[in-house]
């Protein structure tokens, strides 16, 4: 049964207190802003222990079934927790891929055995997940993925490579899209989807240095790596459908995620705070008319996203294009985030010249990192341009490009 507003309010107080009391002390090393920047072991273990602590406190996977380590409660409870985590800016939940897309996917279409095997360890962060979708030559054209998965009895033999494998060095499993039948009628029908183990021989994970100077992305090479056929999900040859379902979770177009925030989201309130601290013509930048105008635009766009999801609750108000809001969310949020972080650099005046490591860098260079890292979201999970194609074709019914 759905909780009442009053119950949720009381719960929020409890959650607020718990996070205030239990948030980890700030470490003496730079914390990543999302799961895509976890470059060192100390960063990883810090974040893994933190997720485990949040889970043990009962604040993760609250709406997932009890049989698999969740608590079987209404999603509203979990939402309270997630919002409070964002509000308090506590470190994010590092097993992002597991919690937000592999987990819901397994719950949706995995076998009973797979659910029992994988879900509890996703929540506790005992087993980290990574994603094997993009390949060096196939990013936006995901359906053209070429990594080979050849059946050999009870096993598949993998050859090829995947790229942008966040958490690849720490992952126990990979959600993997691979070509199991090169002779299929269409490129899509030749794909299969695996919950592939990362600890078998023949898998090498090589870090990639990012434009921020950080690590976190990897290229993963598969050379005659043998994985059990039992790790197939959705059935052989159905990989494309499974991948599409996964992307719906990744883009937030489908619900069912375990909860917890996935990144240190910068919000307009942080930008406003920065404008108060920055100077224009001897006065706080927040008093400059042009700055004010721009900040209001950001505040409105940010509100739009929240109000869109509030409007989704009313069928009568979405009847013309029922999927418009869910399908466009990723595009709107990621572009807004990128632009807000970009604007923050302008607010810093001459200090915009300083980067992480320089004593003059504003907020230790956090905004510069955030701006560069924002591209990982406007590119990853389907670029903004691909999103525009999808929205145009699925929501507006425009012809394929």
């Amino acid at each position: 049964m759905a909780p009442t507003e009053k119950e949720l309010e009381a719960f929020r107080g409890e959650v607020k207190a718990w996070f205030e009391e239990n948030r980890p002390p700030e470490p003496d090393f730079l914390l990543p802003q999302s799961f895509m920047e976890v470059g060192t072991d100390e960063q990883f273990y810090f974040l893994r222990d933190w997720q485990n602590k949040v889970y043990e406190a009962g604040y993760l996977g609250m709406a997932w079934p009890e049989a698999y380590g969740g608590r079987g409660m209404d999603q509203a409870w979990q939402n309270v927790v997630t919002r409070e985590m964002v509000r308090q800016q506590v470190p994010f939940m590092v097993n992002t891929i597991g919690l937000n897309w592999a987990g819901p996917l397994i719950l949706m279409m995995g076998s009973e055995e797979q659910k029992k095997r994988y879900i509890p360890n996703i929540l506790s962060a005992e087993e980290i997940w990574c994603q094997g979708f993009s390949e060096p030559d196939h990013g936006s054209d995901l359906g053209n993925a070429q990594l080979k998965a050849e059946r050999d009895g009870d096993e598949f033999v993998l050859n090829g490579s995947k790229i942008w494998t966040s958490l690849g060095r720490h992952a126990k499993h990979m959600i993997l899209l691979a070509r199991s039948n090169p002779e299929a009628n269409s490129k899509y029908e030749g794909l299969s989807f695996f919950l592939a183990p990362m600890d078998v021989p023949g898998i090498d994970v090589v870090p990639i240095k990012k434009m921020t100077g950080e690590y976190g992305f990897n290229q993963t090479f598969f050379t005659d790596a043998r994985i059990p056929a039992s790790t197939l999900i959705g059935g052989e040859g159905n990989g494309w459908k499974v991948a599409m379902a996964t992307l719906m979770f990744e883009r937030g177009a489908s619900g069912g995620q375990a909860g917890g925030h996935a990144q240190m989201q910068r919000e307009s309130s942080h930008l406003i705070d920065l404008a108060r601290r920055s100077k224009r013509g001897g006065k706080p930048a927040i008093e400059d008319p042009l700055v004010r105008d721009q900040l209001v635009k950001f505040v409105m766009r940010e509100r739009s996203v929240r109000l869109n999801s509030a409007r989704s609750a009313h069928k009568a108000l979405t009847q013309d294009r029922p999927h418009a809001i869910s399908i466009s969310g990723k595009y709107l949020i990621t572009e807004l985030t990128r632009e807000m972080n970009e604007y923050a650099l302008s607010l810093q005046g001459t200090n915009g010249a300083f980067y992480v490591g320089d004593p003059g860098a504003v907020d230790k260079g956090l905004w510069h990192r955030a701006y560069f890292n924002a591209f990982s979201a406007t590119i990853g999970g389907g670029t903004s341009q691909i999103q525009q194609n999808i929205i145009g074709e699925r929501v507006l019914g425009l012809p394929k490009s």
Binding site: R303, L307, N308, A310, A316, A324, G392, L396, L398
Partner: protein, 375 residues
């Protein structure tokens, strides 16, 4: 706004929205819209009577004054579909007049006029002046006391449906302070109303010369409530226009999509070109956001966030319709340039909407003060 937000949407709203969607679609096909542009009155009296009979003019008026006793949230569900079908009726003018009287009128004025407005008597508002000023509290027109009478002078413009109105609410300065006065049709001399050439040809607006108009002092609205009334009027105006423009923007988008799905160039449907597809998606996103702001503002109108929400709703709707209309012209190519292409109807409507109750920059300036200076 880091906490959860909800949009309240009542059963009445849902029912009215459905009825209004069907009504506006049936009564205002584009052919009719075009025909009414050529018509002097500018609307169909029979259709207006149907709206009156449905009780739509009294929706947000209290029952004690002959209304239905719902709220402006329900009015929004009527105004949006009307905007979508560019429906020309005095609905906007009469609703605004009723709200002005409700917020600022004396008890006697409300008793006399609100039941009439609820049953279809036409009313109009004369707030704007040749100065182009948006601030409703700074008129140039003046009322001078002359015994028990008020002598009016100055000129007003953009009086929507002013010609047919039995009653007008006029803003002016009385003894140096803003005031509102009620002027009856019979008190307006011949020739004082001049039909204007409106950028939005589906509207009938008038200039009004106040010189020579004298009314009894009893026609002054309650002076103690002038400030509050002007604030309310501005808020209502923004909300109604936001609804209207949200509706029209959806029609403009449909119009673009229809063309992109049928027109071929270089042997391909032009909607397959990303140069057209992607901006069209951005139009959609602007509209979706605008509708969310609109329905939030509708539900929150009288709440603590009401003022902010309504301004945001107007800014968002304004942006969406301007953008949609502008791209509708461009994407129709050479045809888009012609009077026969409906794109101009939407673009003109946006320009008109922008001219009333403050444009987007005007509201953002005020929103900034609310968002950044409060505390």
């Amino acid at each position: 706004m880091s906490e959860k937000v909800t949009i309240s949407f009542s059963e009445e709203q849902e029912q009215l929205l459905e009825v209004a969607i069907n009504f506006a679609r049936d009564k205002s096909p584009i052919k009719t819209v075009r025909a009414l542009i050529e018509d002097d009155l500018g609307y169909d009296g029979d259709i207006w009577q149907e709206m009156v009979d449905l009780g739509w003019l009294g929706v947000a008026l209290p029952e004690e004054y002959g209304g239905i006793g719902l709220s402006l949230a329900e009015v929004v569900t009527l105004a949006e579909p009307m905007g979508r079908h560019l429906m020309a009726t005095p609905f906007y003018a009469v609703t605004l007049t009723g709200q002005a009287l409700l917020a600022g009128g004396t008890e006697a004025q409300k008793q006399e006029w609100l039941p009439k407005l609820a049953s279809g008597t036409l009313g109009a508002c004369a707030f704007y002046e040749p100065s182009g000023e948006w601030n409703l509290g700074a008129p140039d027109a003046v009322a001078t006391r002359d015994g028990d009478s008020l002598r009016l002078s100055g000129s007003k413009c953009a009086v929507v449906n002013g010609a047919g109105a039995e009653v007008l609410i006029v803003s002016l300065l009385l003894e140096g302070a803003p005031a509102l006065v009620l002027v009856e049709k019979g008190q307006i001399p011949d020739g004082a109303l001049r039909r204007e050439v409106s950028i939005d040809e589906t509207r009938r607006t008038y200039g009004l010369s106040l010189d020579g108009i004298t009314v009894p002092a009893s026609q002054l609205l309650d002076p103690a409530r002038t400030h509050e009334a002007l604030k309310h009027i501005g808020k209502v105006g923004c909300l109604l226009l936001a609804a209207d423009m949200c509706g029209a923007a959806q029609a403009a988008l449909d119009y673009i999509v229809e063309y992109l799905n049928t027109r071929k160039q270089f042997d391909r449907l032009i909607g397959s070109y990303q140069a057209l597809k992607h901006p069209t998606v951005d139009v959609l996103c602007a509209i979706e956001s605008a509708r969310s702001h609109l329905y939030y503002a509708a539900g929150e109108f009288d709440g603590p966030q009401g003022d902010m929400a309504v301004r945001m709703a107007k800014v968002a709707a304004q942006g969406a319709l301007s953008f949609a209309g502008d791209r509708a012209i461009q994407f129709h190519g050479g045809f888009g340039f012609t009077y026969d292409c409906d794109a101009q109807l939407y673009r003109r409507r946006a320009i008109w909407g922008q001219s009333q109750f403050g444009d987007s920059a005007y509201h953002r300036q005020r929103l900034a003060a609310m968002l950044f200076d409060a505390s």
